[in-house]
């Protein structure tokens, strides 16, 4: 009797596995299908796209949408600007985060507690949009200046906590050995701590690079004259939804359609992320968990 029962449970458990498999396949499809659809439209002939938008293999293959994106002056510039802010913002941000995180990990530092509290408070209260806007635009006059992309978001407190708890987990003997050899605190940080922090710094670099690449609001608020790729995509999107031109089909002959260009820009704005994030997966999953159990 008992054996029969356990067999029944076992077979029902196996069915559950296959039910889960089906559910997951469904979830994968609804996650990926829209991206594949966008990809197909971006490679499809614009006129053909206007007839039907449901497909995942380009029906009339063409590069014209991408050629347009990279040769059209403003879009090409926006692409370069996005790359510049991503590289500079993430590189500078990671170094700064590592530096302040190391100092805050040093329990013997006189201002350790005071500075830590100063940083952590800003996670819970912020002045809000209007005072920040006035500070950047009126007081510091950073509007339409490239620095507005780098300086205000230089470090994130969350990342500091992430790196600090990683540094605290490192064996302290290494630092002490270096000190005995006469190294100062800066040398200890640069030569001993920084190389050991590579995994957590990879996570921080990913978070910051993605944040920079995806950032849209700061262009919208502070630097419309320095449009990034995300902002250009927004503009194309707004134009395409506002303009309802009955003669559109005629005028668009031999040209690119807003939808096709939009889809091409969407792909260009997505691809760098798809390339990078899977390789850093083990790092950021660990990083998320450290953040969740922060003190």
């Amino acid at each position: 009797m008992a054996k029969v029962k356990s067999n029944r449970i076992k077979s029902r458990d196996n069915i559950l596995d296959y039910v889960l498999l089906v559910i997951f396949l469904f979830l994968i499809v609804i996650t990926i299908y829209p991206f594949l659809n966008v990809l197909a439209i971006s490679f499809n002939d614009p006129i053909d796209t206007m007839r039907n938008i449901n497909f995942i293999i380009p029906r009339k293959f063409t590069w014209s949408n991408y050629v347009y994106v990279f040769t059209e002056n403003s879009l090409g510039k926006a692409f370069l600007l996005s790359i510049a802010r991503t590289v500079i913002g993430a590189a500078v941000g990671v170094i700064c985060t590592a530096m302040i995180a190391y100092v805050l990990s040093r329990k013997d530092f006189y201002f350790n507690k005071f500075f830590t509290i100063l940083f952590v408070i800003t996670m819970y209260v912020s002045g809000g949009l209007i005072p920040e806007y006035l500070l950047l635009m009126r007081t510091l006059k950073m509007g339409n200046n490239f620095l507005v992309y780098i300086i205000p978001g230089l470090i994130w407190v969350y990342n500091i906590i992430l790196v600090r708890s990683f540094v605290e987990g490192l064996p302290i003997a290494l630092q002490e050995a270096a000190r005995v050899d006469g190294a100062n605190d800066f040398i200890i940080w640069a030569k001993i701590v920084l190389p050991l922090c590579k995994p957590v710094l990879a996570t921080v670099a990913l978070f910051m690079a993605v944040g920079q690449w995806n950032s849209f609001m700061d262009t919208y608020l502070y630097a419309k004259e320095l449009p990034t790729l995300q902002y250009m995509l927004y503009e194309i999107m707004e134009k395409a939804t506002v303009k309802i031109d009955p003669h559109a089909a005629e005028t668009l002959k031999n040209a690119v359609s807003p939808l096709s260009v939009r889809m091409a820009v969407t792909i260009v704005a997505t691809v760098p992320i798809i390339i990078v994030y899977p390789f850093l997966q083990k790092y950021f999953v660990g990083g998320m968990t450290v953040g969740a159990v922060k003190d």
Partner: protein, 313 residues
């Protein structure tokens, strides 16, 4: 570990002296610039809250703080009496409640399913794919969502119907936004629950198996109670942020038709504060949002304490 503790205790007692400052000069050099940065970019905007009690328009903007006209709580009263304030507050709360409830349930469900499935490689692929939308910008998501969900978009064409998900000026738009948000974040949000599940004592499952509990029973009696503290902490944080519905997502996903049900407090502060150049009014709205957020956080934390649950603070 104990050496570090001893070191910590020894160091806590140190007194301020120039000698000590000189000894720690490198640490000071490595931290003071960032503290200055923090004060400029995080604390000076906080000081900007004084504007909420003043009449600040571009004309009076250049005056020093003490010379601007003081208006008491006028800005707050003006904000509360605004034509669209009521609807904006309802939208914000509606979106938050729906987002927290659906988002939490879906993330836990997804984590449970990942935890249960026994095809390891398949599990990994699913997880990797589920992170993808999290890393994609809201502009890209909006571009895709508008193509899929707009009237006559991909979904409408496929189903030969008109769902009107992006064009009904009603709470249906909240549901649309929440579903898009879940599609984007569910895989990412599940990470925390998964790691909580990994921390549950495996012996409990073995014991339950011996007692004849099936998988559903094991999930109900072991896994869910095991991750309860995590759920509570995340719920408290969610409730604390209930009014902070981001303006970016709302702005990008909405259009003129659904405007009334897309407007949220942070966007309202922008429209009144920067759009209409009434800085005092905009700051008052932002301050209201911040203070209510802190209040909600404290209340949620207290309630969790009374219910005997783990607390955030």
């Amino acid at each position: 570990m104990s050496a570090r503790k001893a070191q910590k205790e020894k160091m806590v007692k140190q007194k301020f002296s120039l000698q000590l400052m000189w000894k720690q000069r490198y640490l000071l050099l490595m931290s003071v610039p960032f503290v200055v940065w923090l004060i400029v970019f995080k604390y000076i905007p906080l000081w900007g809250w004084t504007m909420a009690f003043q009449d600040v328009k571009p004309k009076t903007m250049t005056l020093p703080v003490w010379e601007r006209p003081f208006v008491g709580f006028d800005n707050f009263i003006k904000a509360f009496q605004d034509r669209i304030f009521g609807q904006t507050l309802i939208n914000t709360i509606g979106l938050s409640v729906l987002g927290i409830a659906l988002g939490t349930v879906m993330a836990i469900l997804f984590a449970l399913m990942l935890n249960e499935i026994c095809f390891v490689r398949f599990k990994k692929i699913t997880q990797t794919i589920s992170y993808l939308p999290h890393f994609v910008s809201w502009v890209v998501i909006a571009s895709i969502a508008k193509m899929v969900l707009n009237d006559g978009g991909m979904l409408d064409t496929a189903l030969h119907t008109r769902l009107g998900l992006m064009s009904s000026n009603s709470p249906i738009f909240w549901v649309t936004v929440c579903l898009i948000n879940i599609w984007k974040e569910v895989g990412w949000d599940a990470i925390v629950y998964l790691s909580a599940m990994a921390g549950i004592d495996q012996g409990l499952y073995e014991a339950a198996k011996v007692d004849g509990a099936n998988r559903i029973q094991r999930i109900w009696h072991i896994t869910l109670p095991g991750i309860k503290p995590t759920i509570v902490v995340l719920l408290i944080m969610g409730i604390g942020g209930a009014l902070n519905v981001g303006m970016e997502r709302q702005m990008l996903l909405s259009n003129g038709i659904v405007q009334d049900h897309a407007m949220v407090l942070s966007w309202f502060a922008y429209v009144r504060g920067i759009g209409n150049s009434n800085y005092g009014l905009g700051t008052a709205i932002g301050m209201f949002q911040s203070l209510v957020g802190i209040l909600l956080l404290i209340i949620a934390n207290k309630v969790a304490g009374w219910l005997g649950e783990s607390r955030l603070i």
